[in-house]
Symmetry: C2
């Protein structure tokens, strides 16, 4: 057994601490967020801090780092109100992860990593053509988290695109069957293998 | 390929829609939140809506549903300022999931599902003894999400307990080696199998 106190964590080297805290919080969703600015310049960035906020209305949140550290995605969402979330699967994993490199604003990560922007009627932001599970969001609210200058960005689901219809009869989406992967920490990616579905619990 | 519009989702039966939207957002962390009220009554509840907010300070958030739907955990956190997050592994999975059943306030889910409250010096809320990765949080802020009456509850990590020290030399915690599981939707649980760690991406 190992016990670690807050004061010890605060004294750790920056990258060591970031790796530890990022993995301590558990498995996460691995996604690419696609956006476009008002001049039509596309942007693509990997995000794992996705959170389900509600189903009716269908609201999804993500945490955007302080503006100085991660400006482009948030600026584009504020400018257009539109963004897409695209699940990552193993055949696009390396390309997806590469979008986390700091490219200048005038560079599209789509081109740099060789993924294809996919535009559909009624949605301004580009989807990732190669992704198997993807959805478009319209911006609803940006909640500033003053504790550390991050933001909870909340959007409403406007359109969903699945490469195959694997929805079960009760609405569940078996993510493993469409090869979605899970993420841990800043850079580790995992296949998921079903243990079981347990159903609605009653006392 | 299957495309689904927002209007279609809004018309779906409630549980079908909740299953779909909850799985669409991708893999999640599977956790038990342990709390205690001011009379010493313990409470334990399964939560998957965990989100990393920052590493320095080490901040972790979770979404609490509207108070009427999920009152006990939030009330205890507000009363004591203390709570624990405990990763779920396969041998406690069924017990963990069973805590999602609606028990009255005077019933401790620890007893009902046969998990052991573990109290440690300096932390008011109980850990789950059987969990392999767990940490205590002190409440920092409760941000109301007025769009759907939910809350983003933000805490600072005060203490971490690992059943075994598997931290790598760069601070990373290989969750699969401590059997943490991932969650999808409301009731599906998964083993995770490492694809790869990709490291810090540069342009």
């Amino acid at each position: 057994m190992k016990t670690i106190q807050a004061t010890e964590i605060e004294g750790w080297e920056r990258f060591y601490r970031a790796n530890f805290i990022n993995s301590l919080t558990g498995f996460k969703s691995a996604n690419l967020i696609g956006t476009v600015n008002q001049d039509g310049q596309t942007n693509l960035a990997v995000f794992s801090s996705i959170i389900h906020i509600g189903s009716h209305p269908a609201l999804v949140g993500y945490i955007n780092r302080p503006v100085a550290a991660a400006p482009h995605t948030l600026a584009n969402i504020e400018a257009t109100g539109s963004y897409t979330l695209n699940h990552i699967h193993p055949s696009i994993l390396r390309q997806a992860h590469q979008t986390s490199a700091k490219y200048p604003e005038n560079i599209s990560e789509f081109e740099k990593v060789n993924l294809t922007p996919q535009f559909v009627t009624g949605i301004q932001a580009p989807f990732v053509k190669e992704s198997h599970i993807k959805y478009a969001l319209s911006l609803q609210e940006i909640l500033p988290i003053t504790l550390n200058q991050t933001f909870l960005v909340i959007g409403k689901i406007e359109q969903v695109i699945l490469s195959e219809d694997r929805i079960t009869e009760d609405g569940f989406l078996p993510l493993d069957q469409l090869s979605s992967i899970a993420c841990n920490g800043n850079d580790a990616y995992y296949h998921a293998q079903l243990v079981e579905r347990l159903g609605y619990a009653k006392p």
